[in-house]
């Protein structure tokens, strides 16, 4: 019997509130009303659950309580009473059909939150707030903006949804590819935002949880599965990515025994299912690349030719300089650092810290320490996260050291 404390209730709400908010938006057609009502249910749970124990179905309790709260609110205003007449009464205990609609509700809501008519910042913020159950303060912290700024962003986005009548429904089959792309991008960006910053763990967990939810709701969409697998496989390496004092550890140097085998197994199974389906897309291919890395017992044992093959496919689908860079790095593992450097020097990625970091690493391996030092010096100030900055700074130090050993001024 778990102790019912605020932390446990918080976790339950984080997991369940997206479902409740989505259902209430369907019933009442009003995002603010739904949010407020679920928030009130949360406050009530904090008072009642520690004394009474957990209700048998906490998610159902939250939705039912929030629905009663919303109805109370509407009764108090005249416009609300009109709305109440229009709102169909729903049974307290979901029937089979109702339970299915609850699933659909979350799917509807994520397509509303990630509608292309909203800015990318607004899409991410809305998704985390409404579906992820993060507070405005938590969302603000995750994106390093002040809480009032984030609150304003959310208010504006919700106003646009209402004013422009952005629909609350799953897009038709014909619209789906175009509309699914921003949804997956939001989850991917959310996960990436979680690889840095003070509330990183929350964001990564949330991105994976939502990817799982969408995957279970749309099991036939290969790219949804691909994204989920990519996130799981990336997350599996998380424990090995930093030393105990927070320094970044490159894939090459990671302690592979600390990789999370359960996540790798799950990711692998999804990648295999994607291969059987044989409708590749960018996320599926990136997941496959991740799976090849996860397969290798040591860095040296990595099947680089398979990785290069996959990068060729990825580059054909998404011919961006960043993909070309990553492909060149794989090429370098097969044909040597000079081959990779030749490709890199033709790419226009001067603003991207990992480009300079990759060049620096290749130059270092070629013994061109002065050039390597210059490249590390370019990379460090462009780095996004502190861990990366520290890492690149350390490498620069090492190269300076190497310069001194050769008796040259640093």
């Amino acid at each position: 019997m778990p102790i019912v404390d605020d932390a446990l209730i918080g976790r339950i709400f984080r997991a369940e509130s997206g479902r409740s908010v989505a259902t209430l938006i369907r019933i009442f057609g009003d995002i603010d009303l739904a949010e407020d009502a679920v928030q009130e249910a949360f406050a009530l749970a904090l008072r009642q659950w520690p004394a009474d124990g957990l209700p048998p179905n906490p998610g159902g309790w939250i939705t039912t309580t929030a629905r009663h709260r919303a109805i109370d609110h509407l009764r108090r205003e005249s416009r609300g009473r009109e709305l109440l007449d229009q709102v169909a009464e729903v049974a307290d205990e979901p029937t089979g059909e109702e339970a299915e609609r609850v699933q659909d509700d979350r799917l509807r809501l994520i397509f509303t939150c990630c509608h292309p008519a909203l800015s990318i910042e607004a899409r991410i913020a809305l998704t985390l707030r409404l579906l992820g159950g993060l507070t405005t303060a938590q969302v603000a912290r995750a994106f390093l903006v002040a809480e009032p700024t984030m609150a304003k962003r959310l208010v504006r986005a919700k106003h646009k949804i209402k004013a422009a009548h952005i629909p609350y429904r799953v897009p038709s089959e014909a619209e789906l590819p175009e509309r699914l792309r921003p949804v997956l991008a939001v989850l991917y960006l959310t996960y990436n935002a979680g690889t840095d910053g003070p509330s990183g763990d929350e964001l990564r967990v949330e991105a994976i949880r939502l990817a799982r939810a969408i995957n279970s709701l749309m099991p036939d969409e290969g790219e949804v599965a691909g994204l989920l697998a990519l996130l799981l496989l990336t997350e599996s390496r998380w424990p090995a990515r930093f030393t105990s004092d927070g320094a970044l550890v490159l894939l090459r140097d990671q302690d592979r025994s600390s990789w999370d085998r359960a996540l790798i197994e799950e990711g692998h199974a999804i990648v295999r299912a994607c291969l059987r389906r044989n409708r590749p897309g960018p996320y599926q291919i990136q997941a496959a690349i991740s799976a090849v890395h996860a397969d290798a017992k040591t860095f040296e044992a990595t099947d680089w030719s398979q990785i290069l093959d996959l990068y060729d496919q990825l580059l054909a689908l998404t011919p961006t300089p960043v993909v070309a860079m990553n492909r060149a790095i794989a090429l370098g593992e097969i044909q040597g650092p000079q081959a990779a450097l030749d490709v890199l020097d033709g790419l226009d990625l001067g603003e991207y810290h990992l480009f300079h970091a990759a060049r620096a690493d290749l130059l270092r391996r070629l013994g061109r320490h002065d050039d390597a030092r210059r490249a590390y010096a370019l990379a460090a100030p462009l780095a996004v996260s502190d861990a990366e900055r520290v890492f690149l700074g350390d490498r620069l130090e090492t190269e300076l050291e190497a310069g001194r050993h050769r008796g040259r001024p640093a």
């Binding site: 416009r79 509608h115 008519a117 004013a163 422009a164 009548h165 952005i166 629909p167 897009p171 619209e175």
Partner: protein, 120 residues
């Protein structure tokens, strides 16, 4: 039913090759066909094409006086060139019409929701 303004813009100084009468007719036909489609779908409320910005006039109050000047009011490179007012169930439906229009005229189109006056 929500209403939307679909507006198209002309860019100052962007002159096009003058069209022959026949070319004009040819360009106009699909636009008329789309308008007919909007009407039969019950989406069309009103539509119009506007003359050049040079032809616009501004009227404003200055102190107690009403002053009339050469327009347009907004000093910009782009000016309103034409618009549709449509009714649609939601934004996606409005965007559907907007994409049909933009494909025909090959220039971007803005979709603005009306403020609901009927208590919405």
């Amino acid at each position: 039913m929500p209403r939307y303004l679909l507006s198209t813009h002309s860019v100052a100084g962007a002159t096009r090759e003058p069209m022959t009468e026949e070319q004009m007719q040819k360009a106009w036909e699909p636009i008329q066909a789309l308008e007919a489609e909007m009407k039969s779908a019950g989406a069309w409320v009103f539509s119009a094409r506007l003359h050049d910005p040079d032809t616009a006039t501004v009227v404003r109050v200055s102190g107690d006086e009403v002053v009339t000047t050469d327009g347009p009011f907004v000093e910009a490179k782009e000016h309103l060139a034409g618009f549709y007012i449509i009714e649609a169930a939601d934004l996606d439906e409005a965007l559907g019409w907007a994409s049909k229009v933009t494909k025909l005229i090959s220039s971007p189109i803005e979709v603005w929701p009306f403020v609901d006056t009927a208590g919405g």
